[in-house]
Symmetry: C2
Subunit: 154 residues, 2 copies
DNA sequence: TTTACCGTCATACTTTAGGGTGATTTGCAA
DNA sequence: TTGCAAATCACCCTAAAGTATGACGGTAAA
């Protein structure tokens, strides 16, 4: 049969046992000195030392630690991009047109975009032209700038 | 005539005086109880209580406070732009070239940039051409993309 | 003072971008 | 089936962008 006390009673039990041991010790010392009469002050001194120690020990054990909260700033780049699909639909921008827009923004020429998408240069021109109309801009740099504002590009 | 002890001796003097007072108190208690014989244990108990208190008091005064440091992470979104001047110098990009770059990124044509800066179209072309060389790119869209990566543009 | 770079402008030329129009194919929905 | 939008491509033409080279005045460092 084993007893399983919760951890929070452990401390209390320890203090109780310690106190009991000190009392036994004191009783023993009393026995030693009771023979020699008037050595009263020595006994008192020992008690004083023991209980001062007990007080110090108790204080260090029971004192609540001060908690110091240090705020550490973690700078996070706003990296998350959510495509504004509502705006996509509102402006009637097709999937392919968005693809062309993305490649344009990465700095590719129309010819490079055409090669990347396996279509002709004319097709890319058509897409970009339609795109400019829908975005109401005149140049690709403007399109990129506006698309970023409208959250169509990161 | 005034004495000016350094502050660090103040504590020691205080403890000394306190100890002296306690001893006087104990002596007085001893006087009270010495009349009634065999009330030895009451005296011991009082000493125990006083010195336990003294120990606790000493410990709280003398012990360094226990500190538990809790680091709290505060997420700060990086929204402000700081121009990478080191990169500017490294690439040898001039102030005027950066101006042209900024206006290019806002979607303006070379002519519009020229008008904005009160210079000729040719001057803008020269600046942008030099800029492309320094950024090692071939097109303005590429320049904008790279400049943003290098923190030369927001 | 000489060097070197910046900013300015010009001229000539090439390349790329952009506009307009029209045509074909495909897939989806009325 | 018809109609429509998306995607594809072609041709022609203009506008803008980009390259190369040279020139000139100002300023700051060597």
């Amino acid at each position: 049969m084993t007893f399983n006390f919760p951890a929070k009673y452990k401390g209390i039990i320890l203090y109780g046992i310690s106190l009991a041991l000190i009392l036994i010790l004191l009783k023993w010392i009393e026995w030693q000195f009771i023979i020699v009469d008037n050595l009263f002050e020595i006994y008192a001194g020992i008690i004083a030392v023991i209980f001062t120690s007990l007080g110090i020990w108790l204080a260090t054990r029971l004192s609540k630690p001060k908690t110091v909260v240090i705020e550490k700033q973690v700078i996070v780049r706003d990296t998350e991009f959510i495509l504004n699909e509502a705006m996509m639909n509102e402006l009637g921008i097709s999937r392919r047109e968005l693809e062309v827009l993305q490649l344009m923004a990465s700095g590719l020429s129309n010819q490079q975009i055409a090669d990347r998408l396996f279509v002709s240069l004319n097709t890319v021109k058509t897409h970009s032209s339609n795109l400019f109309g829908k975005l109401d801009v005149k140049r690709r740099t403007q399109a990129i700038e506006k698309a970023k504002r409208l959250k169509l590009l990161p």
